[in-house]
């Protein structure tokens, strides 16, 4: 089971996250949850996976995080 490579988080994804935080479309508490989760150095499946933080979801494939979804968008891949 790989660990997530945060260095590979795409620029567009980070810009989208910045905009949504600025507009208060994702909560401070959920961003804190994301930081705490990252610090556990989580292992993820080799294939597609999804982690729900409440006001947003993070999806990825193996070690590579790919996107942050809106809270109403469906998860795809293995829920972790």
């Amino acid at each position: 089971m790989p660990n997530i490579k945060w260095h590979s988080l795409p620029l567009g994804v980070r810009e989208h996250l910045e905009e949504r935080l600025r507009l208060r479309q994702l909560s401070k508490a959920d961003l804190l949850k994301l930081m705490e989760w990252i610090r556990t150095n989580p292992e993820v499946p080799d294939g597609a996976w999804c982690k729900d933080f409440g006001t947003f979801k993070l999806v990825g494939h193996g070690a590579l995080p790919s996107s942050f979804l809106e809270k109403d968008q469906p998860c795809f891949g293995v829920r972790i």
Binding site: L9, R22, K28, L31, L32
Partner: protein, 133 residues
């Protein structure tokens, strides 16, 4: 005098880095809460912001800080484990409070360019990575 200079040098840096061996030892004693103090690097070292350590030390009080230090130095002093755990938890808590303040300031900042600079700090704190713009 050398110890004083070394102490000042440590304080002048942004982060203190625990070696992989130190991280393993602290995880064995205090559990995975150790990882909440900072970002785990690929080599297994842990980078901890100095300002969070200072905030935690100031909040702990000298007696509990001394107990925590004794516990971290010793393998046997189980009775003082609670103070070491408190120190680790307070370092993590200081970072959560700091991130919360950074988000509040970012969301309240009317200047877009300044807000973006604040975002870069938030990004670094959350992901542990300094991304190029």
């Amino acid at each position: 005098m050398l110890a004083f200079v070394q102490f000042l040098e440590e304080l002048s840096t942004d982060h203190v880095t625990l070696t992989p061996a130190e991280v393993q030892r602290m995880r064995a004693r205090l559990g995975d809460k150790t990882l909440q103090m900072g970002h785990l690097e690929e080599d297994g070292s842990l980078s901890i912001p100095v300002d969070s350590i200072v905030a935690a030390v100031q909040s702990l009080g000298s007696q509990r800080l001394n107990e925590a230090l004794e516990n971290l130095k010793s393998e046997q002093m189980v009775s003082m484990l609670e103070s070491a755990e408190a120190l680790v938890e307070r370092i993590a808590e200081a970072q959560r409070r700091k991130l919360g303040r950074m988000i509040d300031e970012f969301q309240a900042e009317p200047d877009g360019a300044k807000a973006h600079r604040q975002w870069k700090e938030i990004e670094k704190t959350v992901f542990g990575v300094e991304y190029p713009d």
